[in-house]
C-alpha cells in the first residue's frame, strides 16, 4: 500500500481517533501522542489493513485499547492525582469564570464517568456511530451498549441538574 492510499483511509478517521484519545487521556499532548502512535501501528501493518472489513472501526478499536493501556501504565508508575473539591471562600476570577462555563462543567462531568460509559458516550453522541459499529469497536453486545449509554446520559443530566440547582436553591 502506498502512502497516499493509506492517508486517504486515515484522514477521515484521525480526528475521531484524536477525540477518543482526548476523552480518555484528558491531556491534549497525550492524546496527540496516542493518535500518532496508533497511526504508526496501523502503518506498520498496512499490508493487512485491507483485509479488515471495517477499517474505521478497527482504527477506533486500536485507539481505545492503546489509551486504556496508557491509563493502566500511568496508574502503575505514577501517583494518582485525586481531584479534591477544596472549598475556598475567596473565589478567584478564574474559578468564577470556569464555574460559569457550562461546557467546561459538562466536560468535567463526562470525565468523571466510568471509562466504558465515557467511551460509548463519545462514540454515540459525539461521533454518531450506529450501534452496530460501536459494538464492533467496543467488542460488546448491542444491548449492553444501550444500557451503558442510557446510564451515561442519565448520569450526565443528573449531575448537570444537581449542579444547576446548587447555584440557585
Amino acid at each position: 500500500m502506498k502512502e497516499h492510499t493509506f492517508l486517504e483511509i486515515i484522514n477521515p478517521v484521525k480526528d475521531k481517533m484524536y477525540r477518543m484519545a482526548l476523552r480518555l487521556l484528558t491531556s491534549k499532548e497525550a492524546a496527540e501522542d496516542a493518535t500518532q502512535e496508533v497511526i504508526l501501528k496501523l502503518w506498520n501493518r498496512k499490508e493487512k489493513i485491507k483485509s479488515y472489513a471495517n477499517v474505521e472501526a478497527f482504527a477506533m478499536t486500536v485507539t481505545k485499547n492503546y489509551c486504556l493501556d496508557q491509563l493502566k501504565l500511568k496508574q502503575n508508575s505514577n501517583l494518582r492525582i485525586v481531584h479534591q473539591n477544596y472549598e475556598s471562600k475567596h473565589i478567584s476570577l478564574q474559578t468564577e469564570i470556569e464555574v460559569n462555563d457550562e461546557m467546561q462543567w459538562l466536560g468535567r462531568i463526562v470525565a468523571s464517568l466510568p471509562e466504558q460509559q465515557k467511551m460509548i458516550f463519545q462514540l454515540r453522541d459525539i461521533e454518531q456511530y450506529d450501534y452496530e459499529e460501536i459494538a464492533k469497536i467496543m467488542d460488546m453486545k448491542q444491548t449492553a451498549i444501550r444500557v451503558n449509554l442510557s446510564r451515561a446520559r442519565k448520569a450526565i443530566r443528573e449531575k448537570l441538574i444537581k449542579k444547576h440547582n446548587y447555584g440557585i436553591r
Binding site: R19, E32, E102, M103, G107, Q122, D130, S150, R153, L160
Partner: protein, 148 residues
C-alpha cells in the same frame, strides 16, 4: 416541532433507544431553537456534544515543519554568502591600501628571503638537538621488549 413529540423522543433517548435519525432531529431542535426551562439540561448536553465534535487533531505532519526548516536555512545561507562577499571585497581593498612593505628590488628580496629561511633552519636545528634524548627511550625499551 411540537413539544410532546420532543418529550417522547427524549424519554427514549434517555433509555438509549433512539436511532441515529431521531437523535439528529433532537440535535437540530436543541441547537436551533429556544427551549423550555425544563429541557435546558438536554440542550446543554447536545451543545456539548456538538462542540466536542469540532475538536481537531492540530499537529501538522512533520514534513511541513521540515520544509519550513529548510526555507529558514536557505535564507540563512543566502545571508551568509551575501555578507561574505561584501566583507571579502571590503577587506581585500583595505589590504591593498595599506601596502605590506613589499620589496621591489630583486637582490634585496633574495637577501631577505635567505636570511629568513636561514633563521628558520637554525631554530629547527636547535629544537632537533633537544630530541637526541629520545634515543634513550628505545634503548630502555629494547631491554624489556625484544622484537625479533
Amino acid at each position: 416541532m411540537e413539544l410532546g413529540k420532543i418529550e417522547r423522543l427524549l424519554d427514549r433517548y434517555d433509555e438509549g433507544e433512539t436511532s441515529i435519525a431521531e437523535e439528529k432531529l433532537l440535535r437540530e431542535y436543541f441547537l436551533s431553537e429556544d427551549v423550555p426551562e425544563h429541557l435546558r439540561s438536554y440542550q446543554l448536553m447536545f451543545r456539548f456534544s456538538a462542540s466536542q465534535a469540532e475538536e481537531k487533531l492540530e499537529n501538522k505532519p512533520k514534513v511541513v515543519s521540515k520544509r519550513n526548516w529548510y526555507s529558514w536555512t536557505s535564507i540563512a545561507a543566502i545571508l551568509i554568502v551575501a555578507l561574505g562577499i561584501f566583507f571579502y571585497n571590503d577587506s581585500s581593498r583595505m589590504l591593498n591600501d595599506n601596502g605590506l612593505g613589499t620589496i621591489s628590488d630583486e637582490e634585496l628580496a633574495l637577501q631577505k628571503t635567505k636570511e629568513t629561511l636561514h633563521m628558520v633552519a637554525q631554530i629547527m636545528n636547535e629544537g632537533k638537538s633537544d630530541l637526541v634524548y629520545l634515543k634513550e627511550f628505545n634503548n630502555t625499551k629494547n631491554k624489556i621488549i625484544q622484537i625479533d
